[in-house]
Amino acid sequence: MIFPFTAIVGQEEMKLGLILNVINPSIGGLLIMGEKGTAKSTAVRALAELLPEIETVKGCPFNCDPDGPLCTGCRETLEKECRLERERKKMKVVELPLGVTEDRLIGTLDIEHAIKKGEKRFEPGILAGANRNFLYVDEVNLLEDHIVDLLLDSAAMGVNTVEREGVSFTHPARFILVGTMNPEEGDLRPQLLDRFGLCVHVGSIADKAERVEILRRKAAFDADPEKFTAEWQPEQDMLSKRIGAAKKRLGHIRPSDTVLEDIVSITASLDLDGHRADIVLMKAAMTLAAFRSAGKDENKDTRLMGDLSYAASTITNDDIRKVAGLALSHRMKRLPFEEMGMDMRRLEAALSMGFSHDVQ
């Protein structure tokens, strides 16, 4: 049994970061920084319950999107049979263990088949299952360097190309990378850091009442997981529904030029590297707007949902403010090894400079 996502006390930023990625995978993942015992792993594992279904090619180990880029296998099938069978699968959280070897990560020559039959066949690795799913790396900063290289390579290309050991195989590898790390145990390479769309810092909860609540729920869950899960089911269903509604709304949100200008003026004042910050901030703000307005529907009459007017789904300054920390804190050009606190002050200064417009 997995502890229900909605029963996690506090850590709102982390939960928001995960939810935004479920609604809009193109945001590009989440890095969770913080000490041990701050519900990092619990939250990521619990996320699995809330994930929507995706349409895939039936039986494809790479979860190919029948209407998207295909793996070598599906391409051959399509050429031969001119059609691909479809099936619906729930999205998954695939874990990448720290000790992973490169052949397990990217796939390799199927040794057994080669020896028994004398034929070459590709044996899929972890990246295969991760396509269009969440790829979760606990303690991502402890991952071996050459594994990180390979991970970066596929993350950048959205494709895993294997050219080794006599096999040549290509399959799409668009995964949502979720990592956790304790910064005191070592740094993360800047390039890998930049690959995470969003980043949150989690700390221990200081509020006494909240800490008591954590204990209470933990005890209740351990005592009778089934009962506890059943109790939280309505909450879980509500969130799933809201995520589904937000996904639909997202397609109707188009940021105005004023919003884009505001985003650029924020990132420009922080002197960030490259354009990824602009793009991620825009996508995160759009997604938050979708999620926020999907929440409003819920409180009203659910029967009205569906073809509602989407007028409410404009991006507000608050949306941008709320996700700016998530999208930018890890991209701030820190003067070598400057503390995080300094960053946050600069970020606040940039956000308080005000927006050119005032949408409520």
Binding site: L109, D153, M157, D278, E339
Partner: protein, 641 residues
């Protein structure tokens, strides 16, 4: 998205177009910060090439046989004779090979790619196969310098290099956001521009051979290369072909000076070497900056990008990111602790020494240091990191090729290739029959890090003349280097009556930086205690993992005045240095913090350096253009097998 819709970076686009017109231009390397659009642009390149042009993305996981070609296991078993399976490079003939993050590619694969690219031919002599095929391709690659740089001779193999930084213009940035999310904003155009460009390239290719290069223009090219102080003539040749392609692109049948001027920044930027005179000037400029800073704003932490002036002069101007360009640090980041005049600081320093008062100094400006590097050594190690390439002994590291030497890490593909030709002869019916001498083992490669131990003098004399600020700046710079190389670091501070390990070996350079900031200064100089502690630390570390290489960085003015015993300090130092230099796994660097212009120079630190057989540097000497290796492998003889 289309090539023509790509916003900005006109020079990068020009470089690709010129290579498309004439592959003789020698390929392009895009460098620059992450998220600047290097990879995006590179992938769009295929849209302006003729339809059937191969475009091969070279994955970092590539092994030697997959790159160059080798025995086809399946076919060979069936046929009972060797059947050749072509590698990636055979597919790339007359096309493009694209390598994302080329600086992360295994060094061995990288040199193979560059070799074939240079020859235009792939020659295979392995596993009983002799085979050769033409392999002419345009090499396009990206590199993020934060993750380490290619050596100058590898850089030279690229015809052109272009710096791709993020754009600053608000309009352009908004355009980029829109093109990056076509699902929201719709496609910006329908590829019309690409079609036209592709047609233009096709027609340029047709008359390229007829474009003439007047002798006068050739003279201009050569003159330009001489002025840039290029090594060899690869630069001259690239500049010539690039200029010709540019003329063709303009529709001109003759290459003019303007063509040369237009392409020179692309070709010369990464090849330019500072002549001796320029280096001299550079040093003077640095010193000037240094004294400027001392006069005014000592505590600022703005990193200086002095090495930038080496490589990117051409682009620097276009992007407004002038090398050595110093933005004044905003007031709020400036430390207000040490705004005082140098003279008053000196006074403070003297007081401190006398009264044993303590003070914590800010970290001085950091800079890029010279490279610390060891030669690739032949021992297989278990450590991982990025400073030195090494064969790896456990099963981690990148598998690069199969070899015949015995180990426990079987390379099944290579083994099968070795066994394949004999299957018929051995009478295979079901399973593949593998004999002992078919067995091949994996050769892996990974980069090895080091433990860098900083041994910092925290005595009162370091407070004088703001020495500690500079020292911290120097250590900070070395830390940045350690970070890039994935070294572990440790820090020992000696002051008052003892030495203390303020930071046990850790891979968190961030933590080291924090400790660095906290180092207090004051009291006497127990140098020998510092050396003793260093010795103990190295002993401890190497006892646990004997393969660790240690670099001890001793930062002091050498004026020891507090001993461990009643013996004369000089004797103690001699004893300690002898112990330290007897450690086979360690090398040393001594950074002398004594004021080199000062009246009372003692040269004590230099003496210690020679006793330790260490590289000796003054703080100013560390601030180099990263041209020379700061540490050379000294004790290979003792360690190599």
């Amino acid at each position: 998205m289309t090539f023509s819709d790509f916003v900005g970076h006109e020079d990068a686009k020009l470089a690709l177009v010129l290579n498309a017109i004439d592959p003789g231009c020698g390929g392009v390397l895009f460098t620059g910060e992450r998220g600047g659009g290097k990879s995006t642009l590179s992938r769009l390149f295929k849209k302006i090439l003729p339809e059937d042009t191969p475009f091969i993305e070279l994955p970092l996981n590539v092994t030697e046989d997959a790159l160059l070609g080798g025995i086809d296991i399946e076919e060979t078993i069936k046929a009972g004779r060797r059947v050749f399976q072509p590698g990636i490079l055979s597919r790339a003939d007359h096309g493009v090979v694209y390598v994302d993050d080329i600086n992360l590619l295994s060094l061995e694969m990288l040199s193979l790619v560059l070799e074939v690219s240079g020859l235009g031919e792939n020659i295979i002599e392995r596993e009983g196969i002799a085979f050769r095929h033409t392999s002419r391709f345009i090499l396009v690659a990206t590199m993020n310098e934060e993750e380490g740089v290619l050596s100058p001779h590898l850089l030279d193999r690229f015809g052109m290099m272009v710096l791709c930084e993020g754009l600053e213009d608000v309009r352009q940035r908004i355009e980029i956001m829109k093109t990056a999310a076509p699902e929201v904003f719709g496609p910006p155009s329908f590829g019309q521009g690409d079609h036209e460009l592709s047609e233009r390239i096709r027609s340029c290719r047709l008359f390229l051979k007829d474009v003439t290069i007047p002798v006068e223009t050739m003279g201009y090219i050569v003159q330009m290369c001489i002025e840039a102080n290029l090594a060899g003539s690869r630069g001259d040749i690239c500049l010539m072909y690039a200029s010709r392609a540019h003329a063709a692109y303009r529709g001109s049948m003759e290459v003019t000076r303007d063509d040369v001027d237009a392409v020179a920044p692309l070709v010369l930027a990464h090849r330019k070497r500072a002549s001796q005179q320029q280096q001299q000037q550079g040093r003077q400029r640095q010193e000037q900056q240094q004294s400027d800073r001392q006069a005014g704003r000592d505590g600022r932490r703005e990193p200086q990008e002095q090495t930038g002036s080496e490589g990117h002069e051409g682009q620097g101007q276009q992007h407004g990111a002038q090398p050595g360009d110093e933005r004044p640090a905003p007031d709020e980041f400036r430390s207000d602790r040490d705004g005082g005049e140098p003279s008053s600081n000196e006074e403070n320093g003297q007081q401190r020494e006398a009264g044993g008062k303590e003070e914590v100094f800010d970290i001085g400006a950091s800079f890029r240091t010279k490279r610390m590097m060891f030669r690739k050594d032949r021992i297989n190690r278990l450590e991982s990191g990025r400073r030195t390439k090494t064969g790896s002994r456990d099963k981690s590291g990148r598998y690069i090729k199969g070899i015949q030497r015995k180990r426990d890490d079987i390379a099944i593909d290579a083994t099968l290739r070795a066994a394949a030709p004999y299957q018929k002869a051995r009478g295979r019916t079901g399973m593949v029959l593998i004999h002992d001498d078919d067995l091949r083992f994996k050769q892996r490669e990974k980069k090895m890090g080091h433990l860098v131990v900083f041994v910092v003098d925290g005595s009162g004399s370091m407070g004088a003349r703001r020495r500690m600020v500079e020292t911290k700046g120097a250590v900070q710079s070395l830390l940045m280097d350690c970070y890039q190389k994935r070294d572990r670091v440790s820090m020992i501070v000696f002051r008052r009556d003892r030495a203390e390990v303020v930071l046990p070996p850790t891979s968190s350079v961030e933590l080291a930086s924090k400790r660095l900031k906290e180092i207090p200064v004051g009291g006497k100089t127990p140098l020998t205690a510092g050396l003793m502690e260093t010795y103990r630390l190295i002993k401890r570390v190497t006892a646990r993992s004997p393969e660790t290489r240690v670099i001890g960085v001793l930062i002091t003015d050498g004026r020891a005045n507090q001993g461990l015993s009643d013996a004369p300090i000089d004797q103690e130092i001699e004893k300690m240095t002898r112990l330290l230099s007897g450690l086979r796994s360690a090398d040393y660097i001594v950074v002398d913090t004594e004021d080199q212009a000062g009246f009372f120079r003692t040269g004590l630190a230099r003496k210690i350096a020679s006793r330790l057989d260490a590289d000796y540097h003054t703080i100013d000497g560390l601030k180099s253009g990263c041209l020379f290796e700061m540490v050379r492998m000294k004790k290979t003889e003792g360690i190599g097998i």
